[in-house]
Amino acid sequence: MNAPLEGIKVVEWSMYATGPLCGVMLGDLGADVIRIEDPQRGGDPTRNMRYVAGITDCQMPGDRNAFFEVMNWSKRSVSLNLKHPQGHEVALQLLDRADVFILNIRPPVVKKLGLDYETLRERNPKLIYATASAYGERGPQGQRSGNDYTGQARSGLMFGAGSDTDPPFYHLAGFPDMTGGTLLSHAVVSALYARERTGVGQKVEMSNLGAAMWIQYWAISNQLLVGGPWPRQDRKRANQPLFNHYQCADGEWIVLATIRDEKWPIFCRLVRLEHLLEDDRFKTVEDRKEHAADLVAILEEHLSTKPRDEWEQILSSDRAMEFTRVQRLADLQHDPQVIANEYIGEIDHPVYGPTKVQNYPVRFSESRVKPRTAAPDLGEHNFGVLTEELNYSPEQIAELVSAGALG
């Protein structure tokens, strides 16, 4: 079966992570994604952003950038000056033929450049117009800029890890941006499905704040129902000591993740702590919760007597035992489980050679997922896109370049 979005044309006018990740996902699903970038500013700011959270240098050989690369696999880049009337006209021509328009540009800028939904819908009623904002387009902060960090802060995410004595933590992963890109891609696919059934295009909206809230659905929705403060968790006093992580003899960490009561005797027998089964402090879930600090201390000491490998082997002998190793990001590409499920794959990159890439995370039994190609250089596809998609002649393109409409 073809890729699900084979033949779908996407125009993306976005920067940083949320909009671009949505474009990557639609590209994985087979869509043809054309990025519009501003030549006057050197394109997407991440092309030149060496330190983001400031810790790891994103600079790559060939004057390329890792941040930009991972957010722009497989796309084509057209460098259009949208402030120039002719550049603007080219953008409109591309959008007239597009199925999807992705943007994470602030609404006042979009309106000023005449690329707002009302204008585009007039020209192309079947268009799916997909926006990512920082805070949602309504409300007091509807027009303000923001990013992953502001999404983490506003949504409560930064108090999600650590105990009450810890400061709030910034999470390195980029949850709000990644969730935002994924939800936007979900919304686009849903709207394409609706269009297939009704013939009508529409606008879909998603924000960093909304995405950051959604990825904490369990905590937020539970809190809305039970009320009161949502406590942080101190692993020294984890209320469920079998739902906790422990350091082993070799300094590596292991997670025990059992929830159901019946796992307690199984666990005690496997790790040779049978005597705890006779201990009155630990008979039931409630008992173990009440004496959590004692039990965590016992388990900490016991689990620190063997290296992690040995505990993994011991716990593996019961199939229903939930546990795993605590890995670091750099471990993942060597994890046989990750490789077997093709969560990380490899492509042959024109500049870097064989290169590891994170694959689209849903496996389809029938639909093909499109292989990744390198992120585009700024304006790399100006000629290809304008000739193939819009039938411009080389002379017309040269004229656009000399007029400053095309970078």
Binding site: L5, L21, Y51, A53, G54, I55, T56, V70, Y117, Y135, G136, G139, P140, G142, N147, Y149, Q152, A153, R154, S155, M158, Y170, L172, A173, G174, M178, T182, S185, H186, S190, A194, E196, Q202, S207, W214, A219, S221, Q223, L225, V226, W230, A257, R260, V285, E322, T324, V326, Q327, R328, L329, Q337, A340, N341, Y343, P361, V362, F364, S365, E366, S367
Partner: protein, 393 residues
């Protein structure tokens, strides 16, 4: 059961789908119905013998009690599947095969079905058979080293991001497969795991680590790589986040904050200088933020729309946040047992599709009668006989 599969069902119902939940009578249905403490922090017990965690993972659904171990119960399930577009499960493969509801068997009864399976570690590979959940997803995917400094232990995140992420991907995959079916006429199986989801929602960090081969150290807020990308405690003990990435933000920031002297300071002239002298700059900013409460700083920074900053909220602050309410991220429903209740809404807005109204989670087997009559045309007598025989409940 639990969260990943059920929340995917909620998302599809938010998009308008009719979701029928098959529950096992012998265990009293989904285990989440009776689970007071899951990760141990908050008691999920609610009035009326209900459970908050079950409720939020099962809005809008209809519940049918079917004993899948009994041949007739399984046959009823298959008859429902024959009329279905999507079959969603997050049971482990041995349990699924035990009741004969693997993809091959289901496809045989309905070749257009979208069969969506969520598991822990992915079905292939050495750990494909193993049990797990959100926590094992967090651990295995590298996520637990995300917050905190190098001196801290790894941290568990209480929001259940791997389960929620898994649900989002299941719902995304199902919608995609429905679209593909609309275009090709063919159904298929889609698969998602906690591990894959944990990795996907760290796409940015993981992508940079794999591509650069460089270490991704944990961040100490006293030595940030960019002090304008950091969080600071204010005079009232509340925290404020600065989230600025561009070189030009520096000048605007210093002027607004009346820190003009820093603009002349040799150490902080450019991004590189501010990175290399982060500890000193952080100390200056820490001291400065201590001189006023947070709301003052918010007012001051709001004067320049190009600056990104934000108050650091707790989960329990969201229900009172006017931005959250204005965008309908949280809304109210009338619940038959709890009364007026705030619920978290579907996070995407569609201009042409109405928002689905949330309905309460079903009592166990509440719709057995309704579904078996409406969907399968059974008579009340037939259903009563099934219930008496322990096939339905």
């Amino acid at each position: 059961m639990y969260i990943m599969g059920p929340l995917a069902g909620v998302m599809l119902s938010d998009l308008g789908a009719d979701v029928i939940k098959i529950e096992e009578p012998r265990t009293g249905g989904d285990v989440l119905r009776g689970l007071r403490f899951t990760n141990g922090t908050v008691d999920a017990q609610m009035p009326g013998g209900r459970n908050a965690s079950f409720e939020i993972a099962n809005w809008n659904k209809r519940s049918v009690g079917l004993n899948l171990k009994a041949e007739e119960g399984r046959e009823l399930a298959f008859q429902l599947i024959e009329k279905a577009d999507v079959f969603l499960t997050n049971f482990r493969l041995p349990a699924i095969e035990g009741v004969g509801m693997d993809y091959e068997a289901v496809r045989e009864r309905n070749s257009r079905i979208i069969y969506a399976a969520g598991d822990t570690f992915g079905a292939r590979g050495p750990d494909g058979w193993r049990a797990g959940n959100d926590y094992t997803g967090q651990a295995r995917s590298g996520m637990m080293w995300g917050p905190g400094t190098e001196e801290d232990p790894p941290f568990y995140h209480t929001g259940a991001p791997c389960d929620i992420g898994g649900a989002v991907l299941l719902s995304h995959g199902i919608t995609t497969a429905l679209l593909a079916r609309e275009r090709t006429g063919k159904g298929q199986k889609i698969e998602v795991s906690n591990l894959g989801a944990g990795m996907w929602f760290q796409y940015w960090a993981l992508g940079i680590v794999s591509l650069t081969g460089r270490k991704f150290p944990r961040i100490d807020r006293h030595t940030p790589g960019n002090p304008l990308w950091n969080h600071y405690p204010c005079a009232d003990g509340e925290w404020l986040v600065l989230a600025n990435l561009l070189p030009e933000n520096w000048t605007a920031f210093c002027k607004l904050m009346e820190l003009d002297a820093l603009l002349e300071d040799e150490r902080f002239q450019d991004m590189e200088g501010r990175r290399l002298n982060a500890r000193e700059l952080n100390e200056i900013l820490d001291a400065h933020f201590q001189t006023r409460p947070r709301r003052d700083w918010e007012e001051i920074l709001a004067r320049d729309p190009s600056l990104a900053f934000e108050r650091l909220q707790r989960v329990e602050d969201l229900a009172g946040d006017e931005q959250v309410l204005a965008n309908d991220y949280i809304t109210e429903i009338e619940h038959p047992v709890y009364g007026t209740t705030q619920v978290q809404n579907f996070p995407m807005q569609f201009s042409e599709a109405p928002r689905c109204e949330r309905r309460p989670a079903p009592e166990f087997g509440a719709h057995t009668f309704e579904v078996l009559t409406e969907e399968l045309g059974l008579s009340p007598e037939q259903i009563s006989a099934y219930i008496a025989a322990g096939v339905a409940a």
